[in-house]
Amino acid sequence: MSTATTTRPAAPAESEVRIGGLLAEFTSADAVVAATRKLRAAGYLKLEVFSPHPIHGIDKVLAAKRPLLPWAALIGAAIGLSGGFWMAWWMNAIDYPFIISGKPMFSFLPSLPVAFELAILLAAFAVFGGTIILSGLPRPANRLFRIPAFARATNDRFFIAIDQTDSAFEANRTRSQLYDAGSAGVESIPILDPKESKLPRGLIMTALALGVTALIPPVLIAKARHTTSETPRLSLIADMDHQPKFKAQTTNPLFADGRSMRPQVAGTIAQGDLREDAALNRGIRSESENSDSAMTDGFPGDTLLASLESEGVPPSIADGDTLQTPDWVTDFPLAVDEKLIRRGKQRYEIFCATCHGIGGDGDGLVTLRALELEQGTWVKPTSLHAEPIRNQPVGQLYNVISNGVRKMPGYASQIPVNDRWAIVSYLKALQKTRTATSEDVPPDVLPNMRELN
């Protein structure tokens, strides 16, 4: 009965048989609204209107309450927002403190994007879930689907269903009232046999089997994570895990000595390591050296130790009274001019002054701070104006800058050779400022001394 009939059929003979209710078909939205109004006036409360599109105004006729969905959205948003901030705070400031550029562990703005997105996401979940649940969905079996005409409810027809439990319901009277309200056809709603509305047994068993099967992988993963195994772990991408190369500190069967790290071949110097001029590079007189290492940048201690071992003197780092003192150069191995000294001053103030102080008195800011902290591990730098330092040959000063002394680290990796010499030249000038007398000043400059300040 897909087309509505205009003639009113006689009441069915089996009207005594219990029915679930009545379903009346209408051809337009106006008609269904008018009929609903009439039926509500006639005292029907359990009626439901079906339409292919939302009919505005029907809610007023049905006296329906506003759904509570906005509250669901609000709760979802509140959980999302607070959850987002909580994650950012607990995960990055408490459980795994993330130190980034010394910024505060937790701050509001950078946590906002995640909290905002979560607020929207959870509010949307609440709205979506709330709509589905409050609509009574999913509901695959519905007694109305047994009425063929009802298929047009999602197409172009409008329906009113009245449930038989409605207090005003009386099959024959209701039927005629529906026709009077302008219905194009009224049908009985069948009562579903409870057995009929059950899911087929095969479907249940399949779903059960699938559900149990789906549990197997997580169980296996859980087992793998909480037990030990003697088999090596799986390499999904073998050539990323096992790359064909020899790493440092490992063995290599290709070489007789079995080392993967190759020593330098005797008599060779690596590219860029050639340091022919010992006076310039090491501050030692060239003719005093006789070993291979004189040609490279090696730590002078190597040479010292080698000479100590050959002489049977116990090694000691103390400035050697008993040790053979290296033959330090006493003259600068490069031309000293005002430009070099100015360069040295600039470098000194960058690299040295932080500990030694601008004036070389051992009162740099780092030193002052270290002494203030009283940590006990800090060795105050010797004043650069002290007698022993003043008397050190320039080669030795150069060596101290390069390789350090006592707690002072070497600066060879940070300051190039010529700059180290520039610093030495400035240091000599600095020392001179404390000991020089007016006789040391050239006579033509002396009258202008005050202006030179």
């Binding site: 993330f98 905002f116 929207i120 609509s135």
Partner: protein, 465 residues
């Protein structure tokens, strides 16, 4: 398809006294159901669909093959290398995410502004959004290199006892794109429930009955369900509106929060959002014009719909053009020499060809929409919109590659060159996009039937009374 598709009706004339119809021809509730639902019910697809599907699904297979190759070999198969560590994959990601903005914009923002003309195109645009976001999501996921650790992106308890950094825009991005894809999906599905029920009730085969029966969850269209549906739709629209604006804002943070010259600018969020809307609408027009032609939807998707979209493309195109100009102004006005160099280098450096392609496609081409003759000529629109999409891809290329290839250290400067894998993956992503889209056209209601029914002239009068 006999209904009112023979000739185009011009409903673009605007007379304030008369509301132009949103649906042309003699439409009734039944004719709309018939017209839209029968498209998804044909036993055999048209030949053009079959050919298009064969091509796009082959490209999809190629894409997944290349992804397998990438995973097994490593990201070295791409052209990404120092200093351009963000090459095509990120360009493609931003390109696709941008396209994915029009759908939610049409659905949510135009809904909130009560622009009823959106009803004919929103389903279409939302589908496009979801497929574009799917394509977008692939690139950052495989860009991480070791994809089997992709779950490290999420704040999950793990054996390293580590958590992701909540101050990183890349983490914000994970949340934003995931939330956007999920909310768009829910919005799309909820809006489609009544139409899926229509297909269920019309289904003639058992398979279709069961499939649409499950998908429609037993929707009946009762006044209670409609009441909830309408409120949920309004709420989701209200939630999706700030979301859609936030997503591309956060994508732009990926760039703007760094300190690379040309990226570190405050204009990025609005500029990216405008660009996203711009490219998204261009893509909707590119797809919509052929679809209404082939599927006979000219009475539902009328010239007025297309014209309105052209106006949005024109407006957002000029916003993008303004942003290009503003960037140069700020680079000069800000007095930062690195920033100045970055922009001079964009326009005149080794990538000048890309920059000027971008400017001509994005700023100059849409200016043609000032002319009504072009705004109402569907195929001219498609031509311009294809140009816009090319231009928008180049915009992301210019932003990503010019800045990275010329950063602070001249010693690390380089010239980026994509590999064949880069190119084929991008082509493959179009294959995936069109595959999903063709499946959508074949099996799902392309037009929101229930919504269009409520804006039919007769029903509209009833609804307004």
């Amino acid at each position: 398809m006999a209904t009112a598709t023979a000739h185009e009706v011009d409903n673009t004339l605007f007379d304030p006294a008369v509301r132009p119809p949103l649906v042309t021809g003699e439409a009734s509730l039944g004719s709309i159901t018939e017209q839209v639902a029968s498209l998804a019910e044909r036993p055999h697809p048209p030949r053009a669909w079959t050919i298009a599907f064969a091509i796009s699904s082959s490209l999809t297979v190629m894409l997944f093959g290349l992804i397998g190759y990438l995973i097994a070999t490593g990201v070295g198969v791409w052209g990404n290398n120092s200093p351009v560590a963000w090459g095509w994959p990120i360009v493609n990601f931003v390109f696709w995410v941008g396209i994915g903005h029009a759908g939610t914009l049409i659905s949510a923002i135009l809904f909130l502004f009560r622009q009823d003309w959106r009803t004919s195109i929103n389903r279409f645009a939302e589908a496009m959004t979801i497929f574009a976001v799917t394509c977008a999501g692939i690139f950052p996921a495989i860009h991480i290199g070791r994809v089997w650790f992709a779950y490290w992106l999420a704040p999950l308890p793990n054996s390293l006892a580590m958590w992701p950094n909540f101050r990183s825009p890349l983490l914000w991005d994970v949340f934003a794109v995931t939330a956007y894809a999920t909310v768009s999906g829910m919005f799309w599905y909820l809006g489609m429930l009544p139409d899926l029920a229509t297909l269920r009730d019309r289904a003639s085969t058992r398979v279709r009955k069961i499939a649409y029966g499950i998908a429609s969850l037993g929707w009946t269209g009762s006044s209670k369900q409609w009441r909830l549906f309408e409120m949920a739709y309004l709420l989701l629209a209200a939630l999706a509106t700030p979301l859609v604006l936030s997503v591309h804002t956060i994508v732009s943070f990926d760039f703007a929060v760094s300190q690379v010259p040309g990226w570190h600018t405050t204009i990025f969020p609005p500029y990216f959002v405008a660009g996203a809307v711009f490219s998204g609408f261009a893509m909707v027009i590119t797809l919509m014009v052929p679809a209404r032609e082939f599927f006979g939807l000219k009475n539902l998707v009328t010239l007025r719909h297309l014209e309105n979209m052209c106006k949005i493309v024109l407006a957002t195109g000029m916003m993008v053009g303004y942003a290009y100009a503003a960037e140069f102004f700020i680079a000069w006005y800000g007095g930062n020499q690195y920033e100045q160099f970055a922009f001079v280098n964009r326009a005149l450096g080794p990538y000048a060809w890309a920059y000027w392609t971008m400017v001509s496609c994005n700023v100059l081409a849409p200016q043609l929409f000032w002319f009504k003759a072009i705004r109402t000529n569907p195929w001219a629109m498609v031509g311009i919109c294809v140009l816009v999409n090319i231009g928008m891809w180049f915009e992301r290329f210019v932003i990503t590659v010019t800045s990275l290839s010329r950063d602070f250290l001249p010693s690390s400067w380089g010239y980026f060159a994509p590999t064949l894998v880069d190119v084929l993956m991008f082509v493959g992503s179009f294959g995936l996009f069109f595959t999903l889209f063709l499946l959508f056209c074949r099996f799902l209601p392309m037009v929101a039937m229930a919504e269009v029914k409520s804006v039919l002239p007769a029903e509209e009068d009833q609804n307004r009374s």
